[in-house]
Amino acid sequence: MLDVRNLSMRFGGLLAVDGVSLDVKEKEIVSIIGPNGAGKTTVFNCLSGFYQPSGGTISFEGKEIQGIPDYKISRLGLVRTFQHVRLFNSMTVVENLLVAQHRHLNTNLFAGLIKTPAYRKKEEKSLERAAYWLKQVGLLDLANREAGNLAYGQQRRLEIARCMVTEPRLLMLDEPAAGLNPNETRELNQLIIRLKEDYCVSVVLIEHDMSLVMDISDRINVINQGRPLASGTPDEIRQNDDVIKAYLGEE
């Protein structure tokens, strides 16, 4: 579904990502791990169109997407969250979910101004979808709270819900477990698996919490200093000497 070949990204003299390849199939959870500063988030930024990759190809469902502007990429069904939660803080929780669905809605100004029946119907539908996802992530009671006032774990879940209302094909999660307590991490774990099983969404995950990664990933890619180090199933990665060296340092 997602096929990344030889991706590289250069900032001035610094080669932040160099020859990274990635392959994600339908209903698959693929993790990218690596030490801090390995270039994981830069890969995400390239995939989601925030950066123009300096080299390599990215194809999504058979279509090459490198160099396409960010907002068009997310319209193809490739949506992401951020390492530091980015919500629309002074808008309410439900507004956060409504605004994310703007392209499902009738954007015709006049239809909206005079509230045509078709417009109303779509509006109702988006409200339903928002309510549904709020229930899924357990935030229904907080629907009219300002997003910025939520607890950290709730903000993380809202960010995922906000992606899901756009009905994505592929979800990219950037350190979703960062700052969560073990209990919340377990819930997140179940949520991600449910997204895959029940909603047929593929997931690309950047994460430092190894237990989460090992638990839910179908395959893992390890990057070190911008270069691919290893890839394989969790078991293979656990036994890979290069990975152990990179994480624990050489003896």
Binding site: F11, T41, N45, F50, F82
Partner: protein
């Protein structure tokens, strides 16, 4: 021959005004370099510098002091003192309390301050423009007696020389002095400098004071060069200087100098070959173009968007 001389004349006029723009632009560029905000009230500080110079010059003339260099020196010192104090007070009152808030908030506060200062001078000194005596007269003339002549006035030479001295002093200060080093550190990374024990509040205040002092110098020079001032005097000049700062690359001091000179020449050429009415249109047009096609300016460093 006539064409060359005419061109030369426009070039000289442009470079004169341009170097004074550069002096004002320093204030924008230094403040932007450190706290990333546009000091909208900077043009007003420059205008106040011009008013203070005129007040002092007039006062000394009434007292009967006539030795020109002394008069100018006293006017300059007074203007610098008042403008710097103004710069300090503005930072303290209008900018420090809103620092770190959403981008729009300091910007609106700065615009409010600019409107306030304009009307402060307007109410105290009246809105009419007042003649500024041209104390430095005469000049050097080239070209045929009967044909077109190119001239450099002593006033223009003074502007060049003073600007050059100020710029050199500023560069020395920034690169050599303790405070200058701290300034550079703060502009690199404000939070880190704070952690390392640099009193960032003091450094930020110092940037405002230095910028205001240079604006005061420009106020005296351009007031005398144009021959009249009014409370709106700072508004357009501030915009021009900001354009110069952006043109050269905001945050860069040599950039401000370069930007000032280019803008000055572009304006003079428009006045000389097209019409004086359109020189503002040309400089704003230049600003819009440079922001569109090279927002980092000629000497600025590109910024990578952080996510």
């Amino acid at each position: 021959m006539h064409d060359v001389l005419y061109f030369l004349q426009q070039l000289i006029n442009g470079l004169t005004v341009g170097s004074a723009y550069a002096l004002i632009a320093i204030g924008y560029t230094m403040v932007y370099g450190i706290i990333g905000m546009i000091n909208f009230a900077h043009g007003e500080i420059y205008m106040i510098g011009a008013y203070i110079s005129l007040i002092v010059i007039t006062g000394l003339a009434t007292l009967g002091s006539a030795w020109l260099p002394l008069v100018l020196l006293v006017a300059l010192i007074c203007a610098v003192i008042v403008s710097s104090s103004m710069g300090w007070a503005v930072e303290r009152v209008a900018y420090r309390p809103v620092r770190g808030q959403h981008r729009l908030i300091p910007l609106i506060s700065a615009i409010g301050m600019s409107i306030f200062l304009q009307n402060y001078v307007h109410l105290a000194q009246g809105s009419r423009n007042i003649g500024f005596p041209s104390l430095i007269q005469g000049g050097i003339t080239m070209g045929a007696e009967d044909g077109f002549q190119t001239s450099i006035s002593y006033m223009q030479i003074t502007i060049f020389v003073v600007t050059l001295v100020c710029m050199t002093a500023l560069s020395m200060f920034i690169s050599k002095s303790r405070l200058g080093r701290a300034c550079r550190a703060v502009s690199q990374d404000l939070k880190m400098s704070n952690l390392l024990g640099i009193d960032t509040n003091r450094i930020i205040a110092a940037t405002f004071v230095i910028g205001a002092a240079l604006a005061a110098v420009a106020g005296l020079l351009l007031g005398m060069y144009y021959g009249s001032i009014d409370p709106l005097f700072g508004f357009i000049a501030g915009l021009k200087a900001f354009t110069a700062a952006v043109l050269g690359g905001i945050g860069s001091i040599p950039g401000a100098m370069l930007g000032g000179l280019i803008l000055g020449v572009a304006e003079a050429m428009t006045s000389g070959y097209l019409s004086g009415e359109y020189k503002d249109v040309v400089s704003f047009g230049l600003l819009i173009l440079i922001l569109l096609f090279r927002p980092t300016g000629l000497l600025g460093k590109p910024e990578v968007e952080k996510i």
